[in-house]
């Protein structure tokens, strides 16, 4: 991670309703599932509740700082925190033992809704749907583009497994002969005005890894075309998480 000031001495800032910052996450117990919070400039923000592998936003980790990129919503506070929505979270890779705050349950912070997945057994499903073990492409028309989105400085992780499966299935079902992959390196404009840059070679690594994974899954009979691009300069603090991506075009 590299922190720099944006153009003209940190004069460029995200919009005022955006909160982009790095902080220790805080976990607060409730009578059902725990809440995840973070503090920034004296205010507490609600990040997410405990979910499971199928949720679009999954909780951060104690022992690591987290990059929060969110928008202040007008929803009622949850667990005492201002709700950020939409929200992207990135667990920082280096360990930070100072991130160790666990708060006990308090009646005033209990959830006012039933969590999609209770802390114990569920009612027979994951929070947001079961994985599709054998995805069939809606259409096999070529070309088709897929996008993988990453955490800051991140590569493929658990949440990419199903999308990779979908790409694999599509290539096989469509009879495609070429897979073009472009990996991007991006940055995040923080609310402080600092620009947080991803590793310089992450775009290349993202492209190469996807190709390697597809080959490892048996997709060896197609031609791979790899590119990488640096879009760090486009960070404006609005939707920087969307820039951390790889685009896979199947032809």
């Amino acid at each position: 991670m590299l922190l720099t000031c944006a153009v003209s001495s940190c004069a460029t800032l995200p919009p005022s309703d955006h909160r982009n910052f790095v902080a220790c996450p805080i976990v607060r117990d409730t009578s059902t599932v725990p809440c995840w919070l973070a503090e920034y400039e004296g205010e507490t923000y609600f990040l997410t509740i405990q979910t499971d592998v199928s949720a679009p936003v999954t909780p951060p980790w104690l022992g690591h700082r987290v990059l929060v990129e969110g928008v202040v919503s007008d929803e009622p506070r949850i667990c005492g925190g201002i709700v950020l929505k939409p929200l992207a979270l990135s667990v920082m890779q280096e360990l930070d033992e100072s991130c160790n705050t666990m708060l006990p349950a308090e009646e005033r912070y209990n959830l006012t809704f039933e969590p999609p997945r209770p802390p114990g057994p569920s009612r027979g499903r994951l929070s947001f749907g079961d994985p599709n073990m054998n995805p069939q492409a809606e259409s096999t028309a070529l070309p088709r583009t897929f996008e993988l989105h990453y955490e800051f400085d991140g590569k493929v992780m658990f949440r990419h497994a199903q999308l990779l499966q979908k790409i694999l299935a599509f290539v096989r079902q469509s009879g495609a002969t070429q897979v073009a992959i472009t990996g991007y390196r991006a940055a995040s404009l923080l609310s402080s005005g600092e620009r947080m840059l991803e590793q310089a070679t992450i775009g290349q690594h993202r492209a190469e890894q996807i190709a390697e994974l597809l080959k490892g899954a048996g997709l060896t009979g197609v031609r791979y075309e790899l590119k990488w691009e640096d879009v760090a300069g486009k960070a404006d603090g609005i939707d920087d998480a969307a820039l951390r991506r790889a685009v896979v075009t199947v032809r």
């Binding site: 976990v27 117990d29 599932v33 725990p34 995840w36 405990q50 979910t51 499971d52 592998v53 199928s54 949720a55 999954t58 909780p59 951060p60 980790w61 104690l62 022992g63 690591h64 667990v91 890779q93 280096e94 360990l95 666990m102 802390p119 114990g120 057994p121 569920s122 009612r123 027979g124 499903r125 079961d130 994985p131 073990m133 054998n134 493929v156 992780m157 658990f158 949440r159 990419h160 497994a161 199903q162 990779l164 499966q165 694999l168 890894q209 390697e212 994974l213 080959k215 490892g216 899954a217 048996g218």
Partner: protein, 562 residues
């Protein structure tokens, strides 16, 4: 030829004739695996893929060491409840064996098996062992340390399970000295030797993300000039419990959670070299073999010192047998019959054989181990059998519903739950009827990694020496550190990382099934829990659960009837 034997338990079939073969049978040799060592070197860190010829890439190196180790002179003395390789006793369709908690059932769903000439039961390698040597029916198709010790006494250490290749701490040690077999005799551990650096399924070399250093080598094997890390065939030795060779439909399923990319990290799953289908990778402690067939090929080489590749017809017979054999506890000394027709639907070996595989059981529409309502609703009484059943039901409910903070578990807290996660035992142990992970099941809860692994601080008054090796793992600067252990990790067994070469797999171990626990102590991959109580105590200590004595008793009771 011909001797009496007693392969039966309290309710078993009467079988009273045995035939001992005079020589290892079916020793058909195919082209030496050593030839397969001549494979290209390439970077393949994220591509486990599938073995091109059915033999995983690490096996040829193992074969070289297996053939280099001396075959131990062994003899096979028939003993009650001990299956001797090649003795020709038919395996009855159903047998019950006594154990400390009650009785264990072995159910062969295809009926009586003629073991004469059967490759699971014949000593097909050169050390006198058969598969059954270490997968004994009385021990839930695994091997208890009590049975190992009894076998040592009965045979004076001559049983083939004490073979030099892996039944000794290292093959160079004197074979008649029990100290040479201390890990097997005291903790039920066999030596698993794996090439370093690791090899992908196609034999290409994997460039590991970390450096490994031997900090402690009490067995002498990891630093041995012939068998160790610096030998001309570099090998790392770790010491592990044999796993249950039964109930296999469950952990080889193609249902929930098994697809081409591993749901925990997005990397490609290992594939069946015959069908190309992805594997759930739940068979061995480090998931290094994708199918029963590929596992059998490796086991013949490493454990039986079979020099070659098992012929297809023998492989088919081994796999078919492993697919038709089921084991579970069938009688509990306190709770009585576990196979009553109106009893808990998740107990007993017949329910197990009839259960559905590939189901996520961590929910209330489909329990991990279905107990039903009857034992939960027993009215208060002084009947000790009723109280035992209530205890089992309470133990089940702790397993399913008692929440605690699960923290710093690699491949659990990193997979969408957050760290920590407030969940239950059944969160990880979610496979219906089995209690394994439904998907690719390796995690690190600390059974082999410090600081949680069983280690005793040294002091001048402690006469006990450390038994297991200790490795120092240093993650390279160009990869992220292990999320919970950082860049330097000390471990007794790097687990999955010995196969993947990945820093975050260090100490990650594929969890074992819950069946037949009463018959196969000790527990955990390194035998570090000698009883079910110690196993429960480990979790209580590791996760600060705060179990009461009563809750511990109930959990132990629940686990002992599975």
């Amino acid at each position: 030829m011909g001797s009496s034997s007693a392969h039966r338990g309290n309710t078993g079939y009467v079988l009273n004739t045995t035939f001992r073969s005079s020589a290892p049978a079916a020793r058909t040799r195919y082209a030496s695996l050593a030839l397969l060592a001549l494979l290209p070197l390439a970077h393949a860190a994220d591509t486990p893929g599938a073995a091109t010829n059915g033999i995983a890439g690490h096996v040829p190196a193992q074969n070289r060491q297996a053939q280099a180790a001396p075959p131990t002179a062994s003899s096979t003395v028939p003993a009650a409840r001990w299956w001797v390789p090649g003795d020709g006793v038919p395996l009855a369709p159903y047998i019950a064996y006594p154990n400390a908690h009650g009785q264990l059932g072995i159910l062969n769903t295809s009926g009586l098996i003629e073991t004469r000439g059967h490759p699971f039961f014949e000593p097909i390698g050169k050390n006198g062992r058969a598969c059954v040597s270490c997968h004994q029916p009385a021990n839930a198709m695994s091997l208890s340390v009590a049975a190992i010790q009894a076998r040592w006494r009965e045979t004076g250490g001559k049983d083939p399970i004490f073979a030099a290749i892996d039944g000794m701490n290292c093959p160079h040690l004197p074979p008649d000295d029990p100290k040479s077999h201390s890990l097997l005799l005291e903790r039920g551990l066999f030596r698993i030797f794996l090439p370093w650096p690791p090899k992908a399924a196609d034999g290409t070399r994997i460039d590991p993300e970390f450096d490994i250093e031997v900090v402690r080598d009490p067995t002498g094997c990891n630093l041995h000039p012939k068998y160790g890390l610096k030998s001309e065939n570099p090998m790392i030795s770790v010491y592990r419990r044999p796993r249950v060779a039964a109930n296999t439909k469950y952990f080889t399923h193609h249902g929930f959670g098994v697809f081409a990319f591993i749901g925990k990290n997005g990397l490609p799953a290992a594939r069946d070299p015959d069908t190309g289908l992805p594997s759930g990778m739940n068979m061995l402690a480090d998931a290094r073999q994708p199918t029963l067939a590929t596992q059998a090929i490796e086991a013949a080489v490493t454990h039986l010192q079979f020099d070659g590749r098992l012929p297809p017809e023998q492989l088919e017979r081994i796999v078919a047998f492993e697919r038709q054999i089921y084991t579970a506890q069938v009688f509990d000394n306190a709770a009585g019959d576990l196979m009553e027709s109106d009893g808990p639907p998740g107990l007993g070996v017949r329910n197990l054989a009839n259960g559905r595989e590939g189901l996520l059981g961590n929910n209330i529409t489909n329990y991990v181990i279905p107990l039903g309502e009857k034992w939960h609703q027993l009215p208060p009484s002084d009947d000790p059998e009723d109280e035992a059943r209530r205890s089992i039901a309470r133990g089940h409910d702790i397993f399913m519903f008692r929440t605690f903070w699960i923290k710093d578990v690699m491949h659990l807290n990193t997979v969408g739950l957050g760290n920590p996660a407030k969940r239950t035992c059944a969160t990880c142990h979610g496979m219906h009827m089995m209690g394994m992970d439904i998907a690719n099941g390796w995690m690190d809860i600390g059974t082999t990694n410090l600081p949680w692994a069983r280690e005793e601080p040294e002091n001048p008054w402690n006469p006990r020496d450390a038994q297991l090796p200790l490795f120092k793992i240093t993650c390279k600067a160009d990869v992220p550190p292990h999320p919970f252990l950082g860049r330097v990790i000390y471990t007794q067994d790097p687990g999955r990382a010995l196969i993947s070469g990945k820093c975050n797999d260090v100490g990650a171990i594929v969890m074992q099934q819950f069946r037949g626990l009463a018959a196969r102590a000790p527990y955990f991959v390194n035998g570090s829990a000698s009883t079910l109580r110690e196993l429960v105590d480990f979790y209580d200590r590791r996760f600060n659960i705060g179990l009461t004595d009563q809750e511990r008793d109930d959990l132990v009771h629940f686990l002992s009837v599975l």
